[in-house]
Symmetry: C2
Subunit: 126 residues, 2 copies
Amino acid sequence: MEKNTIIDNEGLEKEKKKNFKENNCVVTNVFKVIGGKWKVLLINAIYNDCPKRFGELRREMEDVAQATLTSQLRELERDGIICRKAYAESPPRVEYKLTDFGKTLIPVIRSLENWWHNYAEYRNTL
Amino acid sequence: MEKNTIIDNEGLEKEKKKNFKENNCVVTNVFKVIGGKWKVLLINAIYNDCPKRFGELRREMEDVAQATLTSQLRELERDGIICRKAYAESPPRVEYKLTDFGKTLIPVIRSLENWWHNYAEYRNTL
DNA sequence: CAGAATCCTTAAGGATACTG
DNA sequence: CAGTATCCTTAAGGATTCTG
């Protein structure tokens, strides 16, 4: 009984900490989806010009390695942010679009961008 | 001289590419400020209970190495998101607060959190 | 108590070469 | 054209130890 009380207290402590982390770590999860080095760039590019071909993206990104580009696109696809359509032609053609849900990221991205612009001014005062 | 020219060209190239990235992906810059593994957690914790002592943060983060915690706090301070006040007492006491500008991050963080909650439902449909 | 200093591990991303 | 497949580099973060 005594022991159970102790365990319960420990349990509560753990529960508290677990809740704390889960409630606050939500953003870490978002970063896993859009935190890749080129992902926001890709999302914006595909949003602005949809559908977008692989080659176009590669040209716009300029100095990104092809393998990296493919890998970032694959992750965005896996996470349901973009969809990929390959045409059975020769030479091959692949088009990328934002999914409807992917589009819900746009305002979120804009809020990050806006914050940065305000931040830029603030930093001059530091 | 020849060598210097080459070095300068390489330097310029690198600079150019760096600028491209920074100009085109504003959000990447934001991630540099709040993208650290514990930073949003720290910002929320300090926001919810301000001022916050180092020891309190350490206890709440539970499994973060002390050196990591210090490093993340230092970066947030350098970037003007939090401010640090050390008291000349023994034992030492250090308190952290959000700066006024740091507080402008809160709604941005909330928008990320909200997006995640919607995303969680969407993922079940994938 | 709140660090600093040092060393170490891992994973993201990149360079390069090859292919249907 | 749009990829794979390998191999490699680097930097973030962590473990550990020491200190005013």
